[in-house]
Symmetry: C2
Subunit: 539 residues, 2 copies
């Protein structure tokens, strides 16, 4: 397909024919498909059964078929899944934007539940999937796997996909569930890093209480250092922009600095072996709380939309990518002799994912409810079912981890490893399509009509995200929406007063107003809200 | 420096140790340096002797020294110049943004002069540098070079660097010179592609009139196809966004589509062997004339600033990159035995660049003045000197071409080739620093004080670019500035009437209003200027 054009390029001599490097023809194909995804996603938006990610997945699959036919089944190597591209370039903007646009109050109100789900829950799910897989794979004779491999399978399939969650749960419709499932996905990343490290470092033949304690200690130190890194990068950006008064000269410089420092927080976390996802998420939260108020009005509008756009492009890219890679013919050829086994293993893994998640969502919800005083803060059974269901999707993170574990340096040649890759692809595709398609309906069925009031207790008026952005005001509207719960509604204020979370929040606000905001800026403490002098002239 | 951290990452197993791939530590270093460049550039802004690109260049050089010392002079390979990164990722945003923010009227008014400089002028400069180098290199015994190599040297050193031009000439202070030098750089790219093709395809031992005619034919077909591609991608984006009414659902989707389609125009041009720079520049012009008026107000602010920010980051990146790469120890070691020769060759090349540019700027300016009726449109001698001087810088484009020609697959092992690379680096560094630093002063000395009125004839009121952007209005201000010359100033209107350019412009406006704008949108024909219904609610 791109052969003849590739030859022309080589003749031109500007682009090398090095197979490791991306080539112009595959970039062209990809960008064209991205445009197609945006247009088609736009046209299908009114359709209740589709969403952007699933249409991108299908477009990717369709293109994969076309390429296979065009090359007469030779290969689809040009579009191989690349973990580096995924972890270094595509994931950070998505997670940062999620932190930047998240409803902070909702998020911190459920902090304990999120931690329970993300840390303890992932652990439970990990053990169930690992040992379930070990038990059944030996029965089915799936090829040789070490204990390490089974533990890796557990880590891979207990990773809730934050990117998918963003696609199926709506922050405005179901803020509580969104913050629970998405927050769990973020904390989960920290757990995964610790698990992966533990699998590779610890002596697994002899698990005793000391190892478990060390493991828990590792988790907390990782969690705390990642948090500190993210928060300090966010605060640093706020401080620099506030002190140096960037907007005086150029809006572009402010925006560039915000983008670069956010990315720096992620890449530094990866460099120091921390959880990049957790770090960049917290950096996003801090930036939206402080830095965003220190920049000019134009920069505010630009950053809000530019971050959202980058995140949107990355999400579409990932789903397109996963869809295209699913048809990598080499791997399927290797497992074709044992197609039955592969299907069986995929079904088994899907079942384990379902059971593993159920095994922690329901008990931990009961535990979490026990500690909550206000009735409205407790998770009803219907909500628990939705949280369970909405977190079942496995996505690009699972793919990337699976490639990392089972496809290193042509390792797929072994049938067992190839089977694991195709299983992961099957689980990712089927869970994304099935759970992804049904979640919207489940939310509508279980929560919105009958349970409307309960679901809305912790919800803002259903407004699109973009209306929270001030175009004319001083950032007032955005903050109003965010503060909506504490100030103007006496009943919910009373309810909040009865909970300890509110007390923490109260002291935090005091500290924030007395110390943090005067130093780092933020609403009411930013110096040039009206726009820089240069730009102010057009008002 | 990054060794120990790299090992940690390999242990984590997420990032491979493949030397071809970028590693996390070099990304971290680079992003940190980019942030430093922005902050330092901001602090130095009031300094008349510095500009952002030169401070980035110095920071890059400084870091190169630190790395060399830290690795005890072992290597700086981690930061090697990569043409692919440059041509595929860094260059397109810069050129697109230049097209998007360019003052269209000024640009098209000088279209013929720009074409003369960019096409004929580059040809003249190419021949002078090629044959000058051939003549002198044989005298100095610089190692073995083919005729092809000398022609490549001509092509490399006759390329005016558009990126540098953006840094030293100010569109608001000297719009005429900016449009001439920058426009020349854009057309020059098309010429370079044709020259490079010609060098590799034609039989150079037998140059006759048929070959020259074929060459000229090639140039025009390349120029026209690149133009058509850029214009049609721009119009397509305008049509899609106008018809499908994207802003109704999401601003992010509009912005994403604009970014992706702009990039698509560039990468398609590269794919089809056309001039990507010319294509993406024209796509930027068309998008700012039609597409930009079809999107919501938030999207307008976002795109203006997001494109400028991307361009700003890329520019800083390039200068930092060139600065760091300049100290690649391997190449310098190779030429250390013949350092005198290398210095001599660099000086010779610089002299040839000076002469080659003078040889076409002055004659062609006289030719161009001859066809212009209005006195104000003619280039004075002082302006000619400034155009000559401001276009002397050689930058990253020259570096990339030189690497492509002389550093392919370890080819630098040959002393002659290594010398050419180090010569290019020397010429790039010295021309950027010397000409870059002095251009501002030259402009101030030659044009602004004494020649103030003349320089301002073709100038808008000196406003920063960002004020042309409407925050509250309907895009009125931006257009007012752009139209400033035709409508409210009778003297300059009269002058314009006497020139043929105006007639072309008059018929173009008629056609634009009668046919183009109703179909593709644009000022006055966009359907949702007030913002989409959803977003309009907050007004």
């Amino acid at each position: 397909m791109g052969g003849s054009v590739g030859r022309v390029l080589m003749m031109l001599g500007i682009f090398t024919s090095d197979p490791d490097k991306v080539s112009v023809d595959s970039i062209t194909l990809f960008v064209t498909l991205l445009c197609a995804c945006i247009v088609i996603g736009h046209l299908l938006e009114e359709n209740r059964w589709m969403n952007e990610s699933i249409s991108a997945l299908f477009i990717g699959l369709g293109t994969g078929v076309v390429i296979l036919l065009a090359t007469k089944g030779a290969s689809s190597r040009i579009l191989e899944f690349d973990e580096e591209l995924f972890f270094i370039y595509l994931l950070p903007p998505i997670i940062f934007n999620a932190g930047f646009q998240v409803k902070k109050k909702q998020f911190f109100r459920n902090f304990m539940t999120i931690m329970l789900f993300g840390a303890v829950g992932t652990g439970i799910s990990f053990f169930i999937i690992s040992f379930g897989a070990k038990e059944f794979f030996e029965t089915f004779d799936m090829g040789y796997f070490e204990l390490r491999d089974f533990l890796a399978i557990g880590a891979i399939f207990s990773a809730t996909d934050s990117v998918c969650t963003l696609q199926v749960l709506n922050q405005d419709e179901t803020p509580l569930l969104y913050s629970l499932v998405f927050g769990e996905g973020v904390v989960n990343d920290a757990t995964s890093v610790v698990l992966f490290n533990a699998i590779q470092k610890f002596d697994l033949s002899d698990v005793n209480s000391r190892v478990v304690l060390k493991f828990i200690g590792n988790f907390f130190s990782l969690f705390i250092t990642s948090t500190l890194l993210g928060v300090s990068m966010g605060l640093l950006s706020a401080y620099i922009i506030k002190k140096l008064y960037f907007g005086r000269h150029s809006t572009d410089r402010e925006v560039a600095l915000m983008i670069l420092m956010a990315y720096l927080s992620y890449i530094m976390a990866e460099l120091f072996d921390l959880s990049g996802i957790l770090t960049v998420f917290l950096c996003g939260i801090v930036m939206s709380h402080y830095t965003w108020y220190n920049v000019t009005e134009r920069s505010r509008i630009t950053t809000k939309h530019a971050f959202a756009t980058l995140s949107f492009i990355s999400e579409t890219f990932i789903f397109l990518y996963v869809g295209m890679d699913a048809l990598d013919i080499e791997k399927w050829k290797l497992v074709s002799s044992s197609l039955g086994k592969s299907v069986g293993a995929s079904a088994l893994l899907l079942a384990l994912v379902l059971v593993g998640r159920a095994a922690f969502i329901f008990p931990l919800s009961i535990l979490s409810n026990f500690f909550k005083k206000a009735q409205s803060d407790k998770l009803t059974f219907k909500q628990q079912v939705t949280v369970w269901w909405a977190g079942l999707m496995r996505g690009a993170v699972s793919m990337a981890l699976a490639y990392n574990q089972f496809a290193k340096s042509g390792h797929t040649k072994q049938p067992g490893n190839a089977t694991m890759i195709t299983c992961t692809i099957t689980v990712v595709l089927s869970s994304t399509v099935v759970f992804g398609l049904l979640t919207k309906h489940l939310v509508r069925l279980l929560l919105l009509p009958s349970d409307h009031n309960r679901a809305m207790v912790s919800s803002e008026p259903s407004s699109p995200n973009s209306t929270t952005l001030p175009l004319l005001g001083y950032g007032q509207e955005s903050e109003d929406v965010e503060m909506g719960r504490t100030v103007p509604r006496p009943p919910s204020l009373l309810m909040l007063l009865s909970t300890p979370t509110h007390t923490v929040h109260y002291y935090w606000r005091k500290f924030d107003n007395a110390f943090m905001r005067p130093v780092f800026g933020g609403r009411g403490f930013a110096e040039f809200v009206l726009g820089s002098p240069k730009e102010g002239s057009i008002h």
